[in-house]
């Protein structure tokens, strides 16, 4: 086809303009690129603080900072440092300024990154559209705005108050920061409900009440672990689950290899735990008989005159009765059939315990979670007094906590006063549970029985009792029954599935808070939590949420929250203002109290005799009120045969549970780093088993890896069997932390939850749920 001149010229012209445009664009683009590249090389400000460990900065780094905060993947709340690059948290390590943990953290600390960046987090408030509630029922969440959510929640709270029924509000809280807990309690006070229920009674409340019987302090025992020379661990897996764990790990290294004297560790546990594996001696004991052993040890110490006579004489009361009891009823030979431990061994450890100074008898979760848990704890605690190790270096010490600024009393109107005067849902400090501070598991039954009254509304703060409480089926029914439930947490747990509204909370790496570790260090240490990144989603800190709701409620509720800081950051600043300056606190992340003073015998005993009591005056007072005092024995440390659930004939084995270290205790296990190495003793992850003694397994015809039913009188679950040597022949054990069925790619349908078959019984004194007294039978599928 002939090409005309005009064609040529026009096409040429077009071509010229096209190419010139192209050239220009090319030059522009390359110039910009050049500038950008040059700029990125110049504009690079790594701000590495002197505390940071050396990690190379690269061209990709535009901003880098280290922020001091603390962890909340378990109740230990260890101080941490988080490295944030370009606004993304990339590494967590310990804060070397913390003297509690001496700058160490356990693996869960690092897993905080996966908690923060968990893809399963809730990104905004949700409202339930499916009125049906139940396990496996899809709530059909629809996203709503914060103002919608908060106004709906406040409206319901208001209406409950207007009906003069504020006591029918139930506040449940699981693992939260101390400042959030303080806020929750204040809200309950201002609102007018006595029903603030923590998960403590699923842990080791019996330890608290046991030692309270002796010295009047209703608190976990703190042990001066780093200075001890002998450790008798009763049911305590100190380097696996006892808190504060990071401190325990550091101190373990110290007492085993970093001092001239190496501490000896003896572990008494039906299960060969991680601690037993690292200890010098493992003594398998018949389940539930720890107080028998403790009393037998006491009888040896007393009969051989190895006790600290001076301490006993000056600072204890009731020793004579205790001595009579121990010597007459608890000889090692008599107790050998009860505990399954040879008298020789009992004598050996008793002598070593008494003659190695200083020594600790450690009360573990394994002895507290029994119907006789308080007495177990009391008997073991008394051993420490017997050898004079109360408030002594390397012995039992008395934890000091930071003295935050006192808040003004909440403003109470009549509704609040009346509400708080009503009986509590958990029947604590009634005849049922005379010395209990909280009876977590009772609440489910109270809701189901409408006793002492029905529950109209509940709010859960990071709670997940549908997984963590024994007898989970009751919580499922109870949550179904509660007319309106609000769940406040960063993710949707099993309990959250019953919520009508979900208010997404920020994770501990995105909020302001103050914290202090559970007893262990002796000296006080306050830890700051400050946001390391801007909240990733449309979430708010729990303190901020409570401020909001209180504000919306107006009246005395709102007034109670005036003048304490206004928001989360302000609240933290307000409360810690008396102990540390804000600037210093933000820079260091920790504040430590004065050094620990020992031998404060004139101050530490809150007992009628103002001494350590082998005969508990405190308990006598409480029992007198209930009218249930039959004889002196009830107030002395003694062994009671544990009441098992299920008869021995049909259910020959005893089910025990344990917390592996990688069980992230925030109610979620959706963290691959934790899951893939979950059970170090068994070299596997992504699973839990029922662990059976090899002889027992052979007798039952079960081989390693078989799928079996574990059946209790209440329920049964299907699980893989793991045949091992390290467990008592009559005990089977299962790791906690698996069996999640809520959403979560890395946790759903992995393993089983033993709480689904554990029955409901309590240590009546403390309200502690019994965790280890359910009998089961195991058979192949």
């Amino acid at each position: 086809m002939p090409v005309s001149n005009s064609d040529l010229s026009s096409s040429k012209g077009r071509k010229d303009s096209r190419s010139s445009v192209t050239r220009r664009t090319f030059l522009k683009v390359s110039a910009l690129t050049g500038v950008a590249v040059a700029a990125s090389r110049i504009i690079k400000y790594p701000e590495i603080s002197p505390i940071a460990s050396a990690q190379a900065s690269t061209e990709g780094v535009i901003t880098e900072k280290w922020i001091n905060t603390s962890c909340l993947n378990c109740p230990a709340r260890c101080a941490t440092q988080v490295r944030v690059v370009n606004g993304k948290a990339v590494k967590i390590s310990g804060n070397p300024l913390s003297e509690v943990s001496e700058g160490e953290i356990c693996p869960r600390g690092h897993i905080g990154l996966q908690v923060l960046y968990d893809p399963g987090r809730v990104s905004g408030p949700l409202k339930r559209t499916n009125p049906l509630k139940g396990r496996g029922v899809d709530p059909d969440w629809t996203p709503i705005s914060w103002s919608q959510a908060l106004s709906e929640v406040s409206a319901r709270l208001k209406s409950l108050r207007d009906k003069a029924q504020p006591h029918k509000l139930l506040l449940l809280h699981g693992l939260n920061t101390i400042s959030n807990e303080d806020m929750i309690h204040r809200f309950a006070d201002a609102y007018g409900t006595p029903n603030v229920i923590s998960g403590d009674a699923l842990e080791n409340e019996a330890e608290k009440s046991g030692r309270w019987m002796a010295d009047g302090n209703y608190n976990h025992v703190a042990y001066d672990f780093g200075q001890t020379n002998y450790l008798l661990a009763f049911g305590a897996s100190i380097i696996e689950s006892e808190k504060p764990l990071a401190r325990n790990l550091r101190m373990w290294g110290k007492i085993r290899r970093e001092r001239p004297i190496r501490a000896k560790v003896v572990v008494i546990d039906p299960r060969y735990s991680v601690t037993a594996a690292k200890a010098d001696q493992w003594i398998p004991i018949n389940p539930g008989t720890d107080s028998a052993l403790a009393m037998a040890i006491a009888s040896v110490i007393i009969s051989e005159g190895l006790y600290d006579a001076e301490f006993i004489r000056n600072w204890t009361s009731g020793f004579d009765e205790y001595k009579e009891l121990a010597l007459n009823y608890y000889s090692p030979e008599k107790m050998a059939t009860v505990t399954g431990i040879d008298a020789d061994i009992t004598r050996q450890i008793a002598r070593e315990f008494a003659q190695t100074k200083p020594a600790i008898a450690w009360i573990g979760r394994g002895v507290a979670g029994w119907p006789n848990g308080s007495y177990n704890s009391y008997a073991i605690f008394c051993l420490n007094a017997l050898v004079g190790n109360i408030d002594a270096p390397g012995g039992v010490i008395y934890q000091e906590d930071p003295k935050y600024r006192d808040m003004p009393k909440p403003v109470e109107d009549d509704a609040a006063k009346e509400g708080k005067a009503k009986p509590r849902l958990d029947f604590r400090q009634t005849n049922l549970f005379p010395s209990a501070e909280v009876v977590t598991n009772q609440v489910a039954d109270s809701i189901l029985n409408d006793a002492p009254y029905s529950v109209e509304m509940a709010i859960g703060f990071n709670s997940n009792f549908n997984m963590s409480a024994p007898g989970t089926w009751r919580w499922d029914e109870a949550l179904k029954k509660v007319p309106y439930y609000v769940h406040i947490a960063p993710f949707i747990s099993e309990m959250a599935e019953y919520a009508d509204i979900i208010l997404p909370a920020s994770t501990f790496l995105e909020e302001w808070a103050y914290d202090h570790s559970p007893p262990g260090s002796g000296f006080a240490e306050a830890k700051l939590k400050q946001p390391v990144v801007e909240p990733l989603h449309d979430t708010r800190g729990i303190t901020d949420i409570i401020f909001e709701i209180a504000g919306r409620l107006g009246g005395t509720a709102a007034q109670s929250f005036d003048g304490i800081g206004g928001d989360a950051q302000g609240f933290v600043r307000y409360r810690t203002g008396t102990i540390v300056t804000w600037q210093e606190f933000r820079e260091t992340g920790v504040w430590a109290g004065p050094a620990y003073q020992y031998h404060k015998y004139d101050r530490i005993f809150n007992t009628p005799s103002e001494k350590f009591e082998f005969y508990s005056g405190n308990l006598e007072r409480v029992l007198k009120k209930t009218g249930k005092v039959d004889g002196r024995l009830a107030c002395l440390p003694h062994y009671e045969e544990a009441a098992f659930l299920g008869d021995r004939g049909s259910y020959p084995l005893v089910l025990s549970t344990y917390q592996p270290l990688l069980n992230v205790e925030n109610g979620n296990q959706n963290y691959p780093w934790a899951q893939e190495i979950f059970l170090v003793m068994h070299g596997v992850g992504w699973i839990n088993f029922v662990e059976i003694n090899s002889k027992t397994a052979r007798f039952l015809g079960i081989r390693d890896g078989d799928t079996v039913w574990v059946e209790s009188p209440f329920n049964r679950i299907k699980v893989r069997a793991r045949v091992i040597e390290g467990i008592h022949p009559q005990v089977v054990s299962m790791a906690n932390g698996q069996g999640h069925y809520a959403d979560g790619r890395w946790q759903q349908s992995i393993g089983v939850n033993p709480n689904e078959i554990i029955g409901v019984s309590y240590d009546q004194l403390s309200g502690q749920s019994s965790l280890f007294n359910t009998r089961v039978k195991v058979y192949r599928v």
Binding site: L679, M681, H682, G683, V684
Partner: protein
């Protein structure tokens, strides 16, 4: 036939694409058993290609004229199979686009590695075989003889160093042995000869060419001798490994969950059954018997390669005395997966396809067709058959 193979080759290409794009997670390999079907096929093919050497050796080194008719087909088969082996290696690499690094001698290559050394052996081998094939087709007999001899000697290097890939790895007890290179030569010769027998019988039958029964039977006798040599080597290798006190590897091989690869395939089908057949007075002297023995050897040696690759690496490494718990103490498992099997079969199909095409379009077979097909009774072992083939050879010579 071509169509079926063609389809399989397409399947192979697809499976490779899947593996390349998704990563080798679609295969059965793992960190416990890092080599799987592809490497098994690779060393198997390398062994099978030795059939070519056998014939070259017989024809040109030992000057046995009766093997001439199968000379070309043998070399062509050897070449194709060896190329197939190279395809297997290339395809097995995690990053195949970097394969050129295997040839960066002295600069980016580590010559202590058997893979690097073998790149020289394999490369040279392919070139030699190509040269030899070309010479054979062009009927340059004298040069072909020289190249053939070099080929045979070079082949010793190829097979022994392939064996060295495994035999020199100290940490894997089942693999570690100075006899491995020799075992590999022997296994190559047995499987190569066996495959040669099968291919010759089948190809000559289908193309209606005549092959002297004596050729097959003598190959069969050669096969039986080499099998005995291999048996002796395997016996002493395993005896050394099971002797006191260090015997965990051999115990795992004999009684672990891959015991059947060793006993049923390597020993049973690869050694015992063929020997029984070949030394049987009647069966050993019939083409049918030899063919069945060859089939057994071919399958058996594949099993032997697998018994090397899979249990060899699946055995638990005893890092510390005691029972290692969980995942770290469990023997490796190698599942058969779809994409890996499709790829392996596809490569086999590719080789077969090329072979069939080669038979069609290249002058590999003796020129004349004969009405009756080879499986005639002893009677046909007469001058008729010999005369029929002789002119053809002379005409071309």
């Amino acid at each position: 036939m071509v169509a079926i193979l063609g389809v399989m080759v397409v399947v192979m290409a697809t499976s490779y694409l899947v593996a390349y794009l998704k990563g080798l997670q679609v295969w059965g390999i793992s960190n416990a058993v890092p080599w799987g079907q592809l490497i098994t096929l690779d060393i198997y093919f390398i062994g099978l290609s030795a059939g070519a050497i056998v014939v070259s050796g017989l024809c040109y080194v030992l000057r046995r004229e009766e093997y001439k008719p199968i000379g070309r087909i043998a070399v062509f088969m050897g070449l194709l199979i060896f190329t197939g082996a190279m395809v297997c290696v290339l395809v097995d690499l995690g990053r195949p686009e970097k394969f050129w690094r295997l040839f960066m001698y002295g600069y980016l290559n580590n010559m202590t590695s058997m893979f690097a050394i073998n790149s020289i052996w394999y490369g040279g081998y392919i070139l030699l075989m190509l040269l030899y094939l070309w010479l054979a087709i062009e009927n340059k007999t004298r040069l072909a003889m020289i190249v053939g001899t070099i080929d045979v000697l070079w082949a010793i290097g190829v097979h022994s160093f392939t064996g060295a890939i495994f035999g020199l790895i100290g940490t894997r007890e089942i693999l570690f042995s100075p006899i491995k290179p020799f075992e590999f030569i022997a296994a190559a010769l047995t499987s190569g000869t066996a495959l040669l027998i099968l291919v010759v019988v089948v190809a000559f039958k289908f193309s209606k060419r005549y092959i002297d029964k004596k050729v097959i039977l003598s190959l069969g006798r050669l096969l039986s001798i080499i099998i005995i040599v291999l048996l002796v080597m395997v016996f002493f290798d395993k005896l050394t490994h099971i002797y006191f006190p260090h015997r965990a590897g051999a115990v795992f091989l004999f009684t672990g969950h891959y015991w059947w690869l060793f006993w049923c395939f390597q020993i049973g089908m690869g050694l015992i059954i063929p020997l029984i057949i070949l030394f049987h007075p009647k069966a050993g002297k019939s083409v049918k018997g030899v063919v069945i023995a060859s089939i057994s050897v071919v399958i058996g040696v594949l099993g032997e390669r697998a018994a090397l690759v899979v249990p060899g690496t699946a055995q638990v490494q005893q890092l510390y005395p005691g029972t290692i718990e969980g995942v770290w103490g469990a023997a490796g498992v190698f599942p058969i997966t779809l994409w890996e099997t499709a790829l392996a079969l596809g490569i086999v199909a590719l080789v077969a396809l090329l072979f069939v095409l080669g038979l069609k379009y290249l002058e590999l077979l003796p020129a004349t067709e004969v009405a009756e097909v080879s499986e005639a009774p002893e009677v046909s072992e007469t001058s008729e058959g010999a005369e029929a083939s002789a002119p053809a050879v002379e005409a071309e010579g």
